[in-house]
C-alpha cells in the first residue's frame, strides 16, 4: 500500500464525505471520524490539482467546525471547539506543560487537552507538546480519537508526561475486505471481526493461528496434536464439505494463499504416511502481521471464489512508513508442560513375567513413567523489523528466528523468516509499484505420530505397572551378536508398542520446508474515480520428508533391515489478477464504489515419493534409495500433480445512499479445470447484501450511540477435486502389474453450490461504552461431491455422488463493555459467543451415508447420514436385553453387539463462549481470556486400550472393588451385578472396544490466555523509544474438562478422526516472557 502526499480534487457541491473518500483513494490515508460530525457541514466547491494533502484538508475544513490531525496514515477529523481557549471566570495562576505520546513513545500531535469541567483546553503540537493554565486541583482530560480517554490530576506537576493507549473501539474503523478493498466497518453488510497484530504476538505459539483461539466469535480452532509446528483446523460456521477442505481461506494482502495440507493421518494406526507437516499459515512470522480480519460467511467471501465459501481470514502485513524510521525488536521465550496425564493404577503388577498387560498380583506402588519421558517444551522467538522510507519509497524488512522443542523429546522446530517489502511511487504518484519477497526455511524433527504405530506413547502408557522402565530408557538398544547390529531393547513383541526411546531415536522423521512467497503489484490511478491494479504472486513450497526406520524395529512395521521413506514435493501456486477499482459519486446522496476484474489461479503439486515398504533394504540402516530391495509402485513413484486451474471474472458494486444505506452486489463466474469432462465447465454465483444505519435514519434515544441492521445472501460455487471426473482407468501395481482403478469415474458431476443467508445487527450504547453485535446465519450446501464406499460387487470400492443438502445454521454474538473507562484502572471486557447446528437434510438416494474416516482396529467410524450431522461418531456397543441390561455370557464376559455400528455421539462443539478482558493500570496491562466449548462427545481409544491392558486407574479401582458394577443379565436370565474386572475390560476395552463405553462429554472451560504487560517508562528522546515486558501464560487452568484428554486437540486437521483420541500427546500448558523494544 502506498501513501501519496499530493491530491487532485475538483468539483462543485461536494460533500465532505466524498472528498475524504477521494483523498483516501488517492493517498492511501484512512479517515477516522464520527459520522455525526459531518452532518450539516454542507457542500464545498473545490479546485485543487496536485496539491499537498495538508492544503487540501485546510481548505476543506476552513469554514467548518472541524479540525484534523494526521497520525501515521490515519487522518483524524474532530471538532474544532476546544481549539480556542475561552476566558473563564477564574484564570488559574499556574502554567502546566506536558507531552503526550503513544504506547510506542511516538509524540501525538493535536491531542485535545481539556481542563475537566471547563471549556479551557489546548491542542498538542507536532512534538506532542502542550501548555495551558491550570490549578493543582484541576483534572486534565486527554482526548484523542482512536485512543482511550485519559484523565490526569495536575497536582504539583508542572511538566506532565502522558501516554495514551489505542482503544479497542471499532467505531468507524476501517476493515479490509475482499480483494484488499478497505471499507469503513459500518458500511459492511456481513459479519466481520478484526483482530490487531498485537493479539497474535501477545503470547506466541509456533503456529500463529492458535493465538486467535477464543478471540473471534464463530471461529473454531482445533490445534493438531502433532507437536511444535503442527497445523490447526480452522473452521468458521461449521464444516460442510465431506471430501474437500472445510478450512477457512487465508488471504494475504489480497492474494489467496494455498493452504493445502501436506499430509494428515486418516486411520487409527497413524504411522509414517500420516505425519503432519504443518499448514502453510503456520509458517508466517506473526510480527509481520499488522492486522487480521475474519470474514465469517460466504457473502464476505464471494469475491475470492470457491475457497471463500468456508469464510476468509484476511491478513494485512506491515509495510514501510514514510518519513519515519522504526526498528522493532522482540524476543520471547515460552516454556510448556503437559497439561494433564492419563490416570494409572499403582496396585497391580504385570500379569506374568513376559506378559504385556497388568492383570497380575498386588504390588506396592508403581513409578510415574511419564515424567521420565516428557520434557519441558520451549519456544524461543527473536524477531527484528526495520521500517522506513521517504514519500516516494518505503521499505520494510524483517527477520525472525523461531527455535522450539516439543514436550516429546527430539521433537524440534527451527524456522527462519525473511521478509523484504518495497513500495515506490512514480509518475506524480499516479503509479504505485509494490513488491515483496518472503523466504521461509523450516525444519521439523520428529513430529509426534499419533495412533498405534510409531507412537512412543503406546509403549510408555501400556508398560506393565510396577515394572522398572528405566533400563529401557538408559539402553533403548542393545548389541545383537548374531547380526552385529544394535537392535531394540524391549521386552515385548507387539505391533502397537515399541520402546519409546527407540522410536524417538531409531524411527525418526524430519520435514524440511523451503518456501518462497513473492508478490508484485502495480496500481495506476487513471483518474480520480478509477484505478487499475495488476497483481501477481507465486507461492512455492518445497517439502522434503524422511523417515528412517532402523533394523530392530518390530517386524510388523519394518523389514528386518529397516525401511526408508523419502518424499520430495513442491506445491506451486501462481495467482494473477487485473482489477479496475472505481468510486463514482453519482450525486450528493448516492455513490457507487466497486471493482471489475479477472483472475487466474493455478496450483500444481510435483514430486516423488520413495518408500521401501515391507520389501525393505539390502544393507541394514543405510538410508538411501539405491539401497531399496525392490521398487513397489504402490509405495513409491511420481506423485499425482493434482493440477487445478481456475479462471474467473467478477465484479462488485457497493452503492451507498446518504451514508446510511448500503447495498452490496457481487457476481462471479469461474471456469475450473477440475470440471473438464463434465457437462458443466463453469459456474456462476452472485451475492447481495443490504445494510442500514438506523441511528442515522431515525431519532433514537440518546443512550443509543449507533445502530445498524444488515442482511445478505450469497451463493458460492465450488468445483470438485482434480481427477474426480476423470480418474485414471488403471493404476500401477506391484511388480510391473496394473490394476483397474477401484474409484468409478464421475462424468455427470455437477459443481457444488453453497447458499448462505445471514442477518445481523450491531448496537452501541452509552457513548459506545457498550456494544453488541449479533448475527444469525444459515448455509445450505448442495450438489456436494462426496466419495461413497461402493458394494464391492460393483467392481468398485468407491464412487462419487453429488449429495443433497448439508445445512449449518447458527448465531454469533459479540458484546463489549468498558467497565471502567474514565478511571485510573481501566477495564474492558468482551464476550464472543457462537453456536452452530449442522444437519444433513438430504444425501443422494443411492448413498444413504458418507464415511469421513473409518478406523479398522478401533471400532470407530466417523460418518454422516440423512438426519444426522457432520462428524457423527459410530461404534460398537454392548449387547443389552429388552430391559437394557448388559448381556453377560456363561463365562462371565460381557457380550458385544455385532453387526452395524450404532450412533454414539457427535464431536462438534454445540456452542462456545470466549470471555476476553483487558485491564490497565498506569503502565501495567493485564489481559486474560477464558473460553468454554460446550456440548459434543468425544471418544478415547487411549483409555479403552489402557483399560484392556489393566494399567488405567479405573481398572485398578475395579479390582479393588472386586469387579465392575453392572446392571447385567446372564444367559439364564439371572441378574448380574458384578463382572470380574479383567473379563470386563478385556472385552469392553482394547482396540476393538465396545467403543460406546468410551464416549465422554467434550465440554471444556479453560483459562486460555493470560498476559501481563509492563511498559517501561522511557523518554521518547532516548535511543530506545519504547520498551515493553510481558509475562504470558496459555492454557493455564481447565475449569472443567470431562474427557480424559483435551477434546479440542485433533489427531488430524483434515476432515477425519475428529473427536477421537488414539494416543495423542497431551495438550500443553505454557508460560512465557517476552520483551519488545522499539528504536
Amino acid at each position: 500500500r502506498s501513501y501519496s502526499q499530493t491530491v487532485t480534487i475538483t468539483g462543485k457541491h461536494l460533500a465532505l464525505y466524498d472528498i475524504f473518500n477521494s483523498i483516501s483513494k488517492q493517498t492511501g490515508y484512512e479517515f477516522v471520524y464520527d459520522e455525526k460530525l459531518l452532518q450539516g457541514t454542507g457542500a464545498i466547491d473545490i479546485n485543487l490539482k496536485s496539491a499537498p494533502l495538508s492544503d487540501v484538508l485546510d481548505k476543506c475544513l476552513k469554514d467548518k467546525p472541524l479540525s484534523y490531525a494526521i497520525l501515521d496514515k490515519i487522518i483524524v477529523i474532530r471538532p474544532k471547539a476546544v481549539k480556542k481557549e475561552t476566558p473563564s471566570a477564574i484564570q488559574p495562576a499556574a502554567k502546566v506543560e506536558g507531552t503526550v505520546v503513544d504506547a510506542a513513545g511516538q509524540p501525538l500531535p493535536n491531542v485535545a487537552v481539556q481542563v475537566k469541567g471547563t471549556t479551557r483546553g489546548a491542542l498538542t503540537d507536532e512534538k506532542g507538546h502542550f501548555s495551558l493554565q491550570a490549578e493543582s486541583t484541576d483534572v486534565l482530560v486527554f482526548n484523542y480519537v482512536g485512543f482511550d480517554k485519559k484523565e490526569v490530576t495536575v497536582g504539583d506537576q508542572t511538566n506532565i508526561q502522558v501516554t495514551l493507549t489505542e482503544s479497542n473501539k471499532q467505531l468507524n474503523t476501517v476493515v479490509v475486505t475482499a480483494l484488499g478493498i478497505k471499507r469503513s466497518e459500518k458500511s459492511i453488510t456481513y459479519a466481520a471481526q478484526q483482530v490487531s497484530g498485537v493479539e497474535l504476538t501477545k503470547a506466541k505459539d509456533p503456529n500463529l493461528i492458535n493465538t486467535l483461539n477464543g478471540k473471534v466469535a464463530g471461529l473454531n480452532i482445533s490445534p493438531s496434536s502433532s507437536g511444535v509446528g503442527g497445523s490447526a483446523k480452522v473452521i468458521l460456521r461449521g464444516a460442510k464439505s465431506g471430501l474437500g477442505s472445510n478450512q477457512a481461506l487465508y488471504v494475504i494482502d489480497g492474494v489467496p494463499m494455498n493452504n493445502s495440507l501436506t499430509s494428515q493421518p486418516n486411520s487409527s494406526f497413524g504411522g509414517s504416511g500420516a505425519y503432519d507437516g504443518g499448514d502453510p499459515i503456520s509458517n508466517l512470522n506473526p510480527d509481520d502481521i499488522e492486522s487480521i480480519s475474519v470474514l465469517k460467511g460466504a457473502s464476505a467471501a464471494a469475491l475470492y471464489g470457491s475457497q471463500g465459501a468456508n469464510g476468509v481470514i484476511l491478513i494485512t502485513t506491515k509495510s514501510g512508513k514514510a518519513g519515519r524510521t522504526v526498528i522493532n525488536f522482540s524476543s520471547g521465550l515460552t516454556l510448556s508442560n503437559v497439561a494433564y496425564k492419563p490416570e494409572f493404577q499403582n496396585s497391580y503388577g504385570q500379569t506374568n513375567a513376559t506378559n504385556t498387560q497388568s492383570w497380575g498380583s498386588k504390588i506396592s506402588g508403581a513409578k510415574d513413567n511419564l515424567s521420565s519421558f516428557f520434557q519441558t517444551g520451549q519456544n524461543l522467538t527473536n524477531s527484528i523489523s526495520l521500517a522506513g522510507g521517504s514519500d516516494k519509497m518505503q521499505t520494510y524488512f524483517s527477520y525472525a528466528n523461531t527455535t522450539a522443542k516439543g514436550i516429546e523429546p527430539t521433537n524440534k522446530l527451527s524456522r527462519n523468516n525473511i521478509t523484504f517489502k518495497e513500495t515506490g511511487h512514480f509518475l506524480n504518484d499516479k503509479l504505485t509499484a509494490e513488491a515483496d519477497v518472503n523466504y521461509i526455511n523450516q525444519t521439523i524433527d520428529n513430529t509426534p505420530l499419533s495412533g498405534f504405530y510409531f507412537n512412543p506413547l503406546t509403549g510408555l502408557y501400556l508398560f506393565p505397572r510396577g515394572k522398572d522402565m528405566q533400563p529401557y530408557k538408559d539402553q533403548f538398544e542393545v548389541f545383537d551378536p548374531t547380526r552385529r547390529l544394535m537392535v531394540q531393547n524391549w521386552p515385548f513383541n507387539e505391533d502397537v508398542q515399541q520402546n519409546p526411546w527407540w522410536i524417538l531415536h531409531r524411527d525418526p522423521n524430519s520435514l524440511d520446508r523451503n518456501r518462497l512467497l513473492m508478490n508484485a503489484s502495480l496500481k495506476y490511478d487513471v483518474n480520480k474515480w478509477l484505478n487499475i491494479t495488476a497483481r501477481g504472486s507465486m507461492d512455492r513450497i518445497n517439502d522434503v520428508y524422511e523417515q528412517k526406520i532402523y533394523a530392530g524395529t518390530i517386524h510388523a512395521l519394518s523389514h528386518a533391515n529397516g525401511v526408508y521413506v523419502y518424499s520430495n514435493t513442491t506445491t506451486n501456486q501462481q495467482y494473477g489478477d487485473l482489477l479496475a477499482n472505481f468510486d463514482i459519486p453519482v450525486n450528493d446522496k448516492i455513490r457507487i464504489t466497486g471493482v471489475l476484474g479477472g483472475s487466474i489461479r493455478d496450483v500444481v503439486t510435483k514430486g516423488e515419493k520413495f518408500n521401501s515398504g515391507q520389501d525393505g533394504l539390502n544393507i541394514p540402516n543405510l538410508f538411501v534409495i539405491q539401497n531399496f530391495k525392490t521398487f513397489n509402485p504402490l509405495n513409491s513413484g511420481t506423485l499425482q500433480e493434482n493440477h487445478s486451474q481456475v479462471q474467473s471474472v467478477f465484479g462488485s458494486a457497493n452503492i451507498s445512499y446518504k451514508d446510511w444505506a448500503y447495498l452490496d452486489l457481487t457476481a462471479r463466474n469461474d471456469w475450473a479445470s477440475n470440471l473438464a469432462f463434465t457437462p458443466s465447465g463453469s459456474y456462476f454465483y452472485p451475492s447481495v447484501g443490504l445494510n442500514v444505519i438506523l441511528s442515522q435514519v431515525a431519532k433514537l434515544p440518546a443512550f443509543i450511540s449507533f445502530a445498524k441492521v444488515r442482511g445478505s445472501f450469497a451463493q458460492v460455487g465450488n468445483s470438485p477435486l482434480a481427477y474426480q471426473s476423470n480418474p485414471a482407468i488403471y493404476n500401477f501395481s506391484a511388480g510391473g502389474g496394473f490394476s483397474p482403478n477401484t474409484t468409478a469415474p464421475f462424468t455427470d458431476l455437477k459443481p457444488e453450490k453453497t447458499n448462505s443467508l445471514e442477518f445481523g445487527t450491531e448496537w452501541h450504547f452509552f457513548e459506545n461504552r457498550l456494544s453488541a453485535d449479533v448475527t444469525y446465519y444459515k448455509t445450505n450446501t448442495k450438489n456436494q461431491t462426496l466419495q461413497i464406499r461402493a458394494p464391492q460387487g460393483s467392481f468398485y470400492d468407491n464412487f462419487f455422488i453429488n449429495a443433497g443438502n448439508i445445512q449449518n445454521q447458527g448465531v454469533e454474538a459479540i458484546v463489549r463493555y468498558d467497565v471502567l473507562r474514565d478511571t485510573k484502572l481501566k477495564w474492558n471486557t468482551g464476550l464472543n459467543f457462537s453456536t452452530n447446528k449442522n444437519k444433513i437434510i438430504e444425501l443422494s438416494p443411492n448413498a444413504p451415508e458418507f464415511t469421513l474416516s473409518g478406523a479398522s482396529g478401533s471400532n470407530y467410524v466417523s460418518k454422516f447420514k440423512v438426519g444426522g450431522s457432520f462428524g457423527d461418531i459410530y461404534g460398537n456397543v454392548l449387547q443389552r436385553d429388552a430391559q437394557g441390561r448388559i448381556m453377560i455370557d456363561a463365562n462371565g464376559n460381557p457380550i458385544k453387539q455385532g453387526g452395524e455400528f450404532v450412533f454414539l455421539g457427535n464431536s462438534n462443539t454445540k456452542w462456545q463462549l470466549g470471555w476476553n478482558n483487558n485491564l490497565q493500570y498506569k503502565d501495567f496491562n493485564l489481559s486474560f481470556l477464558i473460553d468454554g466449548k460446550f456440548g459434543g462427545k468425544v471418544m478415547s481409544i487411549t483409555q479403552s486400550v489402557m483399560d484392556q491392558y489393566g494399567v488405567s486407574k479405573v481398572s485398578g479401582d475395579a479390582r479393588d472393588a472386586g469387579g465392575v458394577a453392572v446392571n447385567g443379565v446372564d444367559p439364564n436370565g439371572n441378574a448380574v451385578s458384578k463382572v470380574d474386572a479383567q473379563k470386563w475390560y478385556s472385552t469392553v476395552g482394547g482396540r476393538e472396544a465396545a467403543s460406546g463405553e468410551y464416549m465422554y462429554s467434550a465440554t471444556t472451560v479453560r483459562l486460555r490466555e493470560v498476559a501481563l504487560g509492563y511498559t517501561i517508562p522511557v523518554k521518547s528522546t532516548n535511543f530506545v523509544k519504547a520498551l515493553k515486558l510481558s509475562l504470558t501464560g496459555r492454557n493455564l487452568v481447565y475449569f472443567s474438562k470431562k474427557a480424559p484428554f483435551d477434546p479440542e486437540l485433533t489427531m488430524s486437521t483434515a476432515n477425519g478422526l475428529s473427536g477421537v483420541d488414539i494416543f495423542m500427546p497431551p495438550a500443553t500448558r505454557s508460560y512465557g516472557l517476552s520483551l519488545n523494544a522499539t528504536f
Binding site: Q357, Y723, A728, N731, P740, P791, Q792, G793, F795, G857
Partner: protein, 521 residues
C-alpha cells in the same frame, strides 16, 4: 482460455486403456492379477490382505495354523470374537481383484477374440469365487457390476450351479483350443500364465479337477447333482483330471516385490505358527512329511521339537513372544520346503486322488480305481510332492494321532482327538472310512487352509481340537466349531437392503454359527 483443462485434469500417474494395448498388456495384466489374487499376493510385499483373506481365519480354522500374536488382547477371530475389520477381506479380494480382473478381460473383448484365454479367466473366477461363497454362503454373483449402489445376492445353490455352467463353457473352449479348432493366439499366452505356462491341456485337467472338488462340496445337500458333475469331471472323454504333481495348480511367485504371503507372514512378521491339530496328527503318525512341512521349535525353554499352538489359546494373558518360538513353516531346517518365492499352492494331484477315492467310495462312475488304490495313490503322490519317503507309512495300522501338550501352559493340553489309523481298511465302518480318507487328504492339502476348512465343515473330519477360549458370547459352539464368517461391514453400509435379503437366503442369522447351504448336519 480453457483449452488445456482436459490436459490438466488428467492423472499423470494413471494408465489409459490405450497405454495397455501394446504387447497385449490389457490381457496379461488382468490375467496375472486374477491368478495372484485367489490367494492374494497381488499387491507385492505387504501380505496384509492375505492375512485377513485367509490366514487369520481358514488357515487356522482348518487346524493347520495358529497365530502367536494376541491380536486385540486375544479377542479376535481365532477365539471366535469376530472382528468387523477382519471379516470383509475375502469378499473384497474376490470382487475387486478376481472378478473385476475377469470382468475387464470380458470388456476388452477377450471372450470373443481369444476363447481359450477367456476359458482360463472363467476357471480363475470359479476358483476364486468358490472360496468366497464357501466363506459367506450367499454372495453377489449373477448380477455383479450392474449397479453402483445395490448388488443382489444369489443363493449358494444358484452360485454353485453357475460355477458348473461356467466350467462347461471354459472346458468346451479349452477342448476346442486343444484340438486345434480355434485360431492360434497372436501372443505368447505362456507369458501371462503363472500356473501352467499356457498349457491348455493342464488347464482343462485343472478345470475338471475343480469341478470334481465343487461337486464333492455339495454331495450332502444335492447328491444327484454332485454325482452328475463328478462323473462329468471324471469322464476321460472330457480331458481327465490332474494325475501328477506336474499338474498341481499353484501360482508362481515371479517378479520384483512379490512374495509368497504365507511365508512372508511366518518369516517376517512371526505372525503365524503351526496349529496344534496338524502337529498332533503328524507327530502321532510319525509322518515323514513333518520335517518338510515344519521347522522344529526354537524356544529355549523346552527341547526343540515339532510344537504347534492350540487355536484360541493366545488370550490376553500371553504375549506374542511367548509363542513365536513354536514351530514355524519349514524355512530353515535342512533343505527348506518354503522360501519367499515358493509358488502359492491351490490344488494338488494328491487332493484329486482323494476326491476320486471318495467318488469310488460312493460308487460313482469314472473314479478310475478302487478306493484303496486311490487312497494310497493320494498319499504317495503327496509324499512325492514334498520329497518324502513313505516307508511303511501306508501299512501302519497302529499309529494314531498324538495328544497335545503345550510346554508353556498345561491348560491347553488335550488328549488325542481321534483313534483313526493310516492303513486303509475296507472292512471299516463307513464313518471310519470317511474319517481315514479325509484325514489323509487333509494332511496332503497342507498348507492350503481354505479348502481344508471347507472339507472339515462338510465331513466333520479330521477331528480338530476345539478353540481353547471361546469369546463368541455363546453364539458359536466350540464343539461344532465355526461354520462361516459374517457378511462384511461394508456390505451392511453400502448394500444393506440386499444383505437383508441375503440373510433370508442364508436361512439363519448372519453370524459364525449358521451353516452354509451345503453344510448339512
Amino acid at each position: 482460455c480453457t483449452k488445456n483443462f482436459e490436459v490438466y485434469n488428467q492423472d499423470n500417474t494413471g494408465i489409459t486403456p490405450d497405454d495397455l494395448k501394446g504387447d497385449f498388456n490389457d490381457i496379461g495384466a488382468f490375467l496375472t492379477r486374477a491368478q495372484r489374487s485367489i490367494i492374494n499376493f497381488s499387491d507385492g510385499g505387504d501380505p496384509n490382505s492375505y492375512q485377513l483373506q485367509q490366514n487369520l481365519n481358514a488357515d487356522c480354522y482348518s487346524g493347520y495354523f495358529m497365530s502367536p500374536n494376541p491380536f486385540n488382547g486375544g479377542q479376535n477371530n481365532l477365539s471366535y470374537s469376530l472382528i468387523n475389520g477382519w471379516n470383509g477381506e475375502p469378499f473384497k479380494v474376490g470382487y475387486l481383484n478376481v472378478m473385476a480382473s475377469v470382468n475387464r478381460l470380458r470388456r476388452n473383448g477377450v471372450d470373443t477374440a481369444y476363447p481359450a484365454v477367456w476359458a482360463v479367466a472363467q476357471i480363475l473366477q470359479v476358483t476364486g469365487m468358490s472360496r468366497v461363497t464357501d466363506i459367506y454362503g450367499p454372495i453377489p454373483y449373477s448380477q455383479v457390476g450392474t449397479s453402483k449402489s445395490a448388488i443382489p445376492y444369489d443363493s449358494q445353490e444358484d452360485v454353485y450351479k453357475r460355477f458348473f455352467l461356467e466350467l462347461d463353457s471354459a472346458s468346451n473352449n479349452l477342448r476346442a483350443q486343444i484340438n486345434g479348432s480355434l485360431k492360434p493366439l497372436p501372443f505368447s499366452f505362456a507369458r501371462f500364465d503363472l500356473v501352467y505356462d499356457g498349457d491348455s491341456t493342464k488347464w482343462l485337467q485343472y478345470a475338471n479337477s475343480l469341478r470334481l472338488r465343487l461337486a464333492m462340496h455339495i454331495v450332502k445337500v444335492a447328491p444327484a447333482l454332485a454325482q452328475q458333475q463328478a462323473e462329468k469331471a471324471l469322464d476321460p472323454a472330457n480331458g481327465g483330471v490332474i494325475t501328477s504333481n506336474t499338474g498341481n495348480m499353484k501360482v508362481k511367485v515371479l517378479g520384483a516385490g512379490f512374495s509368497n504371503p504365507l511365508v512372508f507372514i511366518a518369516q517376517n512378521w512371526l505372525d503365524i505358527r503351526i496349529g496344534a491339530s496338524i502337529q498332533a496328527y503328524m507327530s502321532g503318525y510319525n509322518d515323514p512329511r513333518i520335517g518338510k512341512y515344519f521347522d522344529k521349535s526354537t524356544d529355549t525353554t523346552f527341547p526343540s521339537r515339532y510344537q504347534g499352538i492350540r487355536i484360541g489359546s493366545i488370550n490376553g494373558n500371553v504375549s506374542k513372544g511367548d509363542y513365536t518360538g513354536y514351530s514355524s513353516l519349514n524355512l530353515t531346517n535342512g533343505t527348506p520346503s518354503f522360501s519367499i518365492t515358493t509358488p502359492v499352492q491351490i490344488m494338488t494331484a494328491a487332493e484329486v486322488y482323494f476326491l476320486r477315492a471318495e467318488a469310488a467310495l460312493r460308487n460313482w462312475a469314472n473314479a478310475g480305481g478302487d478306493v484303496e488304490t486311490l487312497y494310497n495313490k493320494g498319499i504317495t503322490t503327496s509324499m512325492e510332492q514334498w520329497g518324502a519317503i513313505p516307508g511303511a507309512y501306508l501299512t501302519d495300522n497302529t499309529s494314531t494321532p498324538a495328544g497335545f501338550t503345550d510346554p508353556k501352559n498345561a491348560a491347553n493340553n488335550a488328549p488325542s482327538p481321534s483313534a483313526i489309523t493310516i492303513k486303509w481298511d475296507d472292512a471299516a465302518t463307513p464313518a471310519a472310512k470317511m474319517e481315514r480318507l479325509i484325514t489323509q487328504k487333509w494332511i496332503a492339502m497342507f498348507p492350503e487352509g481354505q479348502e481344508a476348512w471347507t472339507e472339515f465343515r462338510r465331513t466333520g473330519y479330521p477331528k480338530l481340537f476345539p478353540v481353547v477360549n471361546n469369546f463368541s458370547g455363546g453364539v458359536i459352539s466350540s464343539a461344532v466349531q465355526i461354520r462361516r464368517l459374517p457378511f462384511p461391514q461394508n456390505e451392511y453400509n453400502t448394500n444393506g437392503a440386499e444383505v437383508s435379503k441375503a440373510i433370508s437366503l442364508l436361512k439363519g442369522p448372519d453370524n459364525g454359527a449358521t451353516r452354509l447351504w451345503w453344510d448339512v448336519q
